[in-house]
Amino acid sequence: MRRAATYLGVLVVAAYCLAPLAWQLVTSVRTPAELTTLPPLLPTRITIEHYAAVFTGHPFPRMLLNSFVVAGGATAIALAFGAAAAFALTKMRARGFGAILALVLATSMFPPISIVSPLYLLINALGLRDTLAALILTYAGFTLPLAIWVLTSFLRELPDELYSAARVDGCTPRQALVRVILPLAAPGLVATGLLVFIFAWNEFLFALTFTATERSRTVPVGIALFPGLHEVPWGEIAAASLLVTVPVFVLVLRFQRRIVEGLTAGAVKG
């Protein structure tokens, strides 16, 4: 009985989360004539013309590449700086541990919309407008507090004696980080990296503001610019939206076990 209730609950939540996705899927394979019928029931005929149009009518591969470079770059930077900061905070006993963490958290309190204008001026002044670098730096900066917090709580669980042992054995602090601490923090790195990657992959506001041409446009912005003067190509939008979720989907599946390990680390003693 209780088990049935559990499954029912899971079912409700899953349906709630997946319904929009299902709608998108249905929309993306409908013929243009059936597109706007409501409710969005199953199509009578399946077509792949919208998928084809995504690749022929728009610079979709270029946008995908941009998105990969931006999300990958932001992830690499956030992880590198986040791990170094977390290491300094937890293992090198930086002074003002609590104050620094609070300050780090405080910086992430600003809603993006409130700082998009000053950031735009800054990016412009640096000559980075309409470059991938502008987005990489912005995303890395925005996700760094998250990276520092997650990795700090993760590294804090690693015994201090391991770091002491590494130093006595002959490591510089950097060698201790790279050879001893990071390999042990791999689940935390994977979990953090995925969160950063997904944020950067989906981000819209900054991407819309800082980019001007398809040279640097990422997928979310690109899709938003699909609508033409006279019509909104719902089918193509649906097809493209589904396509951009695939990489994230694959990443999460691939690292699922690691993410759970990472998010629950320290909850139970290994």
Binding site: E161, S164, A165, A166, R167, V168, G170, C171, P183
Partner: protein, 344 residues
């Protein structure tokens, strides 16, 4: 190998003084032990030698050379930690070879050194395993191997036996003594277990609240404890302390009043019988008797103070009754009541 000199070393963490004006020299090749209750500053002392902590004031010298500015990696010390601190993501061979790898040794050289040290420690067959697949005793040996592989100048051991069961602890204790004899490296050992300290060391320093209470060879600490703290800490069961006024026929040095004195006597020196013909024996009510095999330790209550003595298994006084506690006057230790210092 190196002699280690502490020249007025103090260590404070914020307001807390962990080590106060430590002055002593550990000789080259010596097995030296810091012993004391938890929080006495003994582990901090090891961290200071290793360079994991810096002294707040004072200097540490290896062979006369100040080392305070050197990072741990430049001091050529090796350390075995209480938790062993093996690297979980490396095999046993990689763990042991890690210090050599960091020093840029050639792979062949590392393999040979690891094999050699593994042979000496009897862990040749474990080299491919991960630390989590090992028992406590095996992990201990791997930690020792990692420390010994590069033949350091100084070998530091922080409570290395405390995570082992009693039987294994005795075995590893003998092993440590053997390794020290074999390698001859200056060894600094930290423990809260006075028995370990006595069994292993050339010299022992008893630490209490950041200060050295006494430093000397184990037997000197045992036979001539400098104060009541050392007297009570060294030896098992711990020494009895009695009000001097309870002990008849006490010979005191001149100028010392009876009420200024505490008398110490070790339980091994107290003979407990139900009827003794020693007229100076003390009568005490028996609280309990603990057989240990050859001996039975008898705990008695004398004028509100505990006194422990030894009885023969064949003549154990009954708890609740009165027994006679007798001891020879030349086995007594006298301490000043106010300062705790040894008088005679």
């Amino acid at each position: 190998m190196a002699a280690i000199e502490f020249d007025g070393v103090s260590k404070r963490f914020g307001q807390v003084t962990v080590l106060e004006d430590l002055r002593l020299t550990i000789e080259e090749g010596e097995f030296f032990t810091f012993v004391g209750p938890s929080g006495c500053g003994k582990s901090t002392t090891l961290s200071l030698i290793a360079g994991l902590e810096r002294p707040t004031s004072g200097r540490i010298r290896f062979d006369g050379e100040p080392v305070d500015h050197l990072a741990p990696r430049d001091r050529d010390v090796a350390m075995v930690f209480q938790s062993y601190a093996l690297y979980p993501h490396m095999s046993v061979a990689e763990n042991i070879g890690f210090p050599l790898k960091l020093r840029g040794a050639a792979p062949r050289e590392i393999d040979d050194a690891v094999a050699e040290v593994a042979r000496r420690l009897g862990i040749e067959t474990l080299l491919a395993r991960r630390p989590r697949e090992l028992s406590g005793g095996q992990r201990q040996r791997v930690a020792l191997g990692r420390a010994l592989v590069r033949r350091p100048r100084v070998f530091l051991l922080d409570e290395p036996l405390s995570n082992l069961d009693a039987r294994l602890r005795l075995e590893m204790r003998a092993e440590l003594k053997r390794l020290h004899g074999e390698y001859g490296i200056t060894t600094v050992y930290v423990t809260h277990d006075q028995e370990e300290a006595m069994a292993l060391s050339d010299r022992v320093a008893v630490l209490n609240a950041g200060r050295v209470e006494q430093c000397g060879p184990p037997l000197e600490l045992y036979h001539a404890p400098a104060n009541t703290f050392v007297a009570g800490f060294v030896g098992s069961p711990p020494m009895n302390f009695l009000d001097a006024r309870l002990v008849p026929d006490l010979e005191l040095p001149r100028d010392v009043a009876l009420d200024e004195v505490i008398v110490g006597v070790r339980p091994t020196d107290v003979r407990v019988t139900e009827a003794s013909d020693d007229p100076r024996a003390l009568d005490a009510r028996v609280l309990l008797a603990e057989p240990t095999g050859d001996d039975v330790w008898v705990v008695g209550l004398l004028e509100g103070e505990r006194i422990v003595g030894r009885a023969l298994p064949s003549a154990v006084p009954v708890p609740g009754g009165i027994a006679r506690f007798a001891f020879a006057r030349e086995r007594l230790h006298l301490f000043d009541r106010a300062s705790g210092r040894r008088i005679a």
